[in-house]
């Protein structure tokens, strides 16, 4: 009995963790190309969800049209943000760039509040909430769907980074000057990474929007997403997936056992501990790229 309970905690933790990974993949894409931790990824996720809602609920398109269409819109939107707000900051100190992404996040929250108000709305994906048992373990269906989406995106991006375009993005991440010297457009590459991260934001926005409703609080996913990205190594997609699993399981299992002692709220403590310990003990994360020092 006890073991089944533990398995259930771990399984659902793992699924939730993969949903963090889903979010974190967007962060990793931008970090890989430009070494910028995008503090606006939460805002992008929220906007992605709102656009799906606008297309599906307000205009009345079926979801299978609304979601891909939102992905296209957000791809352009992400590239636009890079073009308008970030490109001019190239070469400036990283704090300036960070502050810009923070500013964008706040701006996006304010804008969605002005347009759609602050009332939480549901995406109504139609996944269903009746319990799903795998063996004796109770699993949430929407979490299962979200985790599958996360794994799918993981595979897609792993393949993408082996393609010629993907190789070019990795080259840009390695060395801007060398990239320019062989005719690679660094600017377009970084723009592309913002576009792709915005598509990921639509996926994360739809799944998380279904779970907790669509409102401004979606942008707060950034905190857990960033923790997962840092633990995974910031520029490793595989790292983000593994770190999501680890954090999700730790958080779910750990909090169940710790909460009685601390009177609740241990989830956040566990997340904080993971983030702080990672930065202190393993700043490159589990799979982060280390600068190569040759002997």
């Amino acid at each position: 009995m006890e073991l089944v309970f533990l398995a259930e905690l771990a399984a659902n933790g793992a699924l939730t963790g993969l949903l963090y990974s889903l979010f974190a993949i967007g962060l990793v894409l931008i970090y890989k190309a430009s070494s910028v931790p995008n503090l606006a990824q939460g805002g992008l996720t929220m906007v992605g969800a709102y656009i799906v809602l606008a297309l599906a609920r307000d205009i009345g398109l079926p979801l299978w049209v609304a979601i891909p269409l939102a992905a296209v819109v957000m791809f352009g939107f992400g590239m636009g943000i890079e073009r308008v707000a970030l490109r001019r900051l190239a070469g400036r100190p990283i704090v300036m760039i960070l502050m810009m992404t923070l500013g964008i996040d706040i701006f996006l929250r304010g804008t969605t509040l002005a347009i759609w108000g602050g009332t939480s709305r549901s995406v109504e994906l139609g996944v269903g909430y009746d319990p799903l048992f795998i063996g004796d373990v109770l699993i949430s269906r929407i979490h299962l769907v979200g985790a599958a989406v996360a794994l799918l995106l993981f595979v897609v991006f792993v393949l993408f980074f082996r393609s010629r375009l993907g190789i070019r993005l990795r080259a840009i991440a390695d060395d801007y000057m060398a990239s320019w010297s062989v005719g690679i457009s660094v600017e377009r590459g970084v723009g592309l990474s913002w576009g792709l991260a915005s598509i990921v934001a639509v996926a994360a926005g739809v799944i998380w929007g279904e779970i907790q409703g669509v409102d401004q609080s979606l942008s707060l996913l950034l905190l857990k997403g960033l923790t997962v990205a840092v633990l995974g190594g910031l520029d490793s997609i595989f790292g983000a997936v593994l770190a999501g699993l680890i954090l999700g399981i730790l958080e779910n299992v750990g909090s169940t056992y710790l909460d009685p002692f601390v009177g609740g709220g241990s989830r956040d403590l566990i997340v904080a501990a993971v983030l702080i310990l990672t930065v202190m003990l393993r700043p490159h994360g589990l799979f982060g790229r280390q600068d190569i020092e040759r002997v």
């Binding site: 190789i167 991440a173 390695d174 060395d175 000057m177 062989v182 005719g183 040759r294």
Partner: protein, 272 residues
């Protein structure tokens, strides 16, 4: 300052009285004129800080990334003025600059380094034969094509940087101190490969070097640049025979470079 038409036909690169300003204040080169004949091999020699890299960056357009700009003069490539063009456009036209310090893409494999530099318009089949061509020039790279480039030896990285540049299908290859920090036998190996490519493919080469001895062995003529000005221009033979060059740049036997020399006497200014 325009050239005679007959010269335009024979020179792939022609640089006329070019001045470069960094940050709008720092005048790094002060009226440099250089010609590279089609299919020719020319060396640009000079000591630390003379303005060699700046000259190459002015030609490749990489100056912009370092907040530099051509403030006077004109650069033309194969008869077209390129002074204001973006770097990417110049690569497409056939100018490739192997920058100082063999900056390979460290986290990519050599194979991926080559692919990254190939134009996206190149089809799969051509890409494969092009890579094959590079591996034939540099068999050492073929052996290590799937290991991480950051862990290659210095010589292998230099070969990779050159091979990567060749993937852009250049007509003018510019090399910035390819011999730096390499053992003499490696320098000889790399230089002989460059010479071979120059011969077989009629690829024009502009070679920046502090290692004058090695460079003058493979080029037809050379320029000497000091303090942002060309102070000497002659055939490689004449430069090797020149007593000042011998004293300052060739005197110390193999592997001599300019690190210790501060200034070359400007009295010897034959052409600028």
């Amino acid at each position: 300052m325009t050239q005679a038409p007959d010269k335009e036909a024979t020179n792939i690169l022609s640089m006329n009285s070019v001045e470069v300003l960094y940050d709008n204040v720092m005048l790094a080169i002060k009226g440099v004129s250089i010609q590279v004949p089609k299919g020719g091999m020319v060396a640009l020699l000079g000591s630390n800080g003379a303005g060699k890299s700046t000259t190459l960056k002015a030609i490749s357009g990489l100056l912009k990334a370092e907040r530099g700009r051509v403030s006077r003069g004109e650069i033309s490539f194969d008869g077209t003025v390129i002074t204001g063009l973006p770097a990417q456009r110049r690569v497409e036209m056939g100018i490739c600059h192997v920058i100082e310090g063999r900056r390979v893409f460290e986290h990519l494999t050599p194979d991926e380094n080559l692919e990254a530099a190939a134009p996206l318009s190149m089809n799969r089949a051509t890409l494969k034969t092009e890579k094959q061509r590079i591996y034939e020039y540099f068999p050492r790279l073929a052996e290590r094509k799937n290991s991480q480039a950051g862990y290659l030896s210095g010589g292998e990285q230099q070969m990779l940087a050159i091979g990567r540049a060749l993937m852009t299908q250049p007509r003018l290859l510019m090399l910035d101190e390819p011999s730096l920090g390499l053992a003499p036998f490696l320098v000889a190996e790399i230089f002989s490969i460059i010479k071979k490519i120059n011969k077989e493919e009629k690829l024009s080469v502009l070679l920046v070097e502090q290692n004058a001895l090695a460079a003058l062995e493979i080029v037809s003529d050379g320029y000497l640049i000091e303090n942002g000005r060309v102070v000497m221009h002659d055939t490689a033979q004449a430069l090797k025979a020149n007593s000042d060059i011998q004293e300052f740049y060739l005197g110390g036997g193999s592997g001599t470079n300019f690190h210790d020399i501060k200034h070359y006497s400007r009295r010897k200014r034959w052409l600028s």
